[in-house]
Amino acid sequence: MRLTNAGNRWTWTAAASIAVLAATVLLGPAMRQSTATSHWDAPATTVNKQIDATDLYAFTSPERQDTVTIVADYIPFQAPHKPYQFDTDARYEVHIDNTGTGRAAITYRWTFADKALPAPSFVRARERQAGPEHQAGPLDSLVEQSYTLTRLRDGKSEILVRDGYAAPTDLGGPGYAATRRKAVRDLPGGGKVFTGTAADPFYSDNRAVNLLRFGLPFFPVKTGVPMNVSALALQLPKSELALGGDPARNPVIGVWTTASRRSSALLGSGAAGYTQVSRLGNPNFNEVIIPLKRRDHFNTLRPDGDESGGLVVPSTLDPDQAEVVAKQANVTAPPAPRKDLEQIYLTGLARTGGPIKQDLNSHRLNQDAPRTAKAEELRLNLSTPVAAAPDKYGILKGDAQGYPNGRRLIDDVVTINLRMLLGEPAGRGAPGLIAEDNPAFLLKPITDSFPYLALPVTAAG
């Protein structure tokens, strides 16, 4: 990827500029120090990268169609050659709701432990530059982490993987493919797990990002991210996830991921339990549907509280951002209440469930589901056949296997979300807004077997 024109370069510069603003609240004027008096100031807004859930994918595994693959990506924008670590004081979780109540029927929980010195990488990079006396050991062993994978189900917890190997990033040594292989493990019951660094599979259309984000405090970021993420990937038999173990009778599951961090007592009192600090189901939901002031709140909520919580349902029915985007794009957004968006994000699609007349991914399609609730989850119908020719615009182009019926690695979710915000597929919407022949594509191609994610980007490409 090359930057060929000034406009593109500007977008990068602009993005960088915004990152600086995050850093602005960081370091206050110098602290009071014996005589040089000022005041103390710790960072207010922090980057919080380690617990930042960036993308969640869920799709039927194309080459093992009796299984489903779920990928949760954390720690975005990792520069090549720089190892990043999971937070050893956090729980990273993937939740499955197969009843439609918003409650997790099954939770997969990763916790991490450092196997070596826990010093952040940017320091190590400097130390390496400083000279040989600072070298503490082989580069990758410095950042190796092990993990425990636990499955929580029916009030019981069961350890699936003990002392698992989290693949560090590719630091340029030979034989990285073996490192990747070492990080893919079989699970009891026929599943697989991969934990570690991979090339970020996210991509989007530049204009769609621009529009969807207008009015938010951000600048456009160009499509295709030549950076790495830390992935938590599972490939699980459908029968393990479906209600009653029967994906034919109960084909729909809802998926979301959360990160929780252990808090701390203060002055000897107060709870030090785990606090949920990140939540992600449908892509863009928090930043596009939830108003800015409540976004941090959304990250602390659980889907089973969505229906009565007074935040998620009203925000979905009348998203401020629809008006802002429509005005910017010179089109009209459908009037509130947006029952179509409620269907897309909170209940899934069923012929009887709202204006989008399609039986697709509502928990109502589960024959044994008692009563479904409105809850923001990424819903996937396990029985939708794998598309012979997948379309990156998913259901908007008649590809029923694509987003928002789960999410595949190839789906252009930003454009789909933008078009749905403007009224598709319930109404006409504004389908021509984003040129469909735009060259938005994955920077590093995905592979055809689990975990599908490309090997980490290195500085050489």
Binding site: M1, L3, W12, A16, S17, I18, L21, A22, T24, V25, L26, L27, G28, P29, A30, Q33, S34, T35, T37, H39, D41, A42, A44, T46, V47, N48, K49, D52, D55, F77, A79, D89, F122, A125, F202, S204, G215, L216, P217, F218, P226, R261, S263, S264, L266, S278, R279, L280, N284, E287, V288, P291, L292, K293, R295, H297, N299, D320, V324, A460
Partner: protein, 433 residues
Amino acid sequence: MSRLRRLPPLLGCVLLGCVLVTLFAPGGLLRRDEPPPAPAGWSPYDLAGSIQAVQVRLRRHPDDAAAWASLGDMYLKQARRTADTAYYAKAEGAFERSLRRPTGDGEPYIDAVIGMGALANARHDFAGAVRWAERARRAAPFRWALYGVLTDAHLELGHYEQAETALRRMLDGHPDLASFTRAARLEQLRGRPGHARDLLRRACAIPGDPAEYAFCQWQLGELAWSTGDPRTARAAYTQALAADPGHAPARAGKARAEAALGRTEQALRDYATAVIRSPAYVVEYGELLEHLGDAEGARRQYAVFTAQQRLLAASGGADDLAAGTFAANHGEPGTAVRHLRAEWARRHSVEVADALGWALHRAGRHTEAAAYAVRADALGGRNALFAYHRGEIEHALGHTGAARTHLTRALSINPYFSPAGAARARELLAEKT
């Protein structure tokens, strides 16, 4: 928290920008067959360029409340970096323009409200910061950054109970670097350095960018220093500087530690570097020079301080605590008392209590001074400088036993707390045996 939201606040963007611009730009630096020359994507934080980029955007979208708020934040950062307080006015202008442009819900853009609070803290208008943060809390009780502004303001005002309440809210709702570092500060103020250290270690494990990491290590260094462990302090300051070589507070801290360890040459070099980055350290640099017998060098540093204070006063940002403390040690005690009484009228923090007590002592008003020295110790914090001041005051009052107690305590907390002060404490203790 997913893709769109996270893009901006992330160092990632900076990394991305830098990697791409420097490596892939036409005629880029990178040859395909070798690793990047510098740590890949090392961020130079091109603040001036970023400010320009936002300004460009604002010319095209003058109604973008979010961009105005960003610009305000960048000006605040620029003020910190350059120590040029002219940026405060610019920040204020940008925040105000953001506040005048209601967002979708008809309310001001929340980050501009919080930004005004951060600006008020930077200008030492701590009461104002509380008002802004409370306003933000009413509008958006889950916007965690506001609790940082609120906690800091209360701690500076000496409202320790309120600070604790705000901090508990922050820890319960969003445990992260911002809350752990503040909790560490409160633990330390309450005399619990072990707990402070644990919290800072946790904070050090979770930073998202070098600046955050440098901040945490610097704090660990300060903690080690304050407990009389210059070796550990120096190691932490060195870590901070490895992450952010331009971090002036860590550079000054390292200078202090080097001096304590007898590496005077290195200490002077570090101080010289630190004061170039931030004039906030000229006084302690001067004090070291004076202690080493370089009266002329010290005088030059003190002159810088005086000039800086005049500039601050002219821009309406007079720092009475700094000015008063300086006057108490190197100037006219009457002036010191005047400055510090003004500060005490604004806030009752332990730092101001200590400084006012010391100034009163220097002005010969020992009885009054003793009352403030007691208040400075009231939280239970273990502060060598406060203990030394209290010892001197007791000595002046003729309370030999109490003087001995506090002077001994000062030296046991941190025998290096001040080159001149520690020497004087030892002298006093020796003469009374």
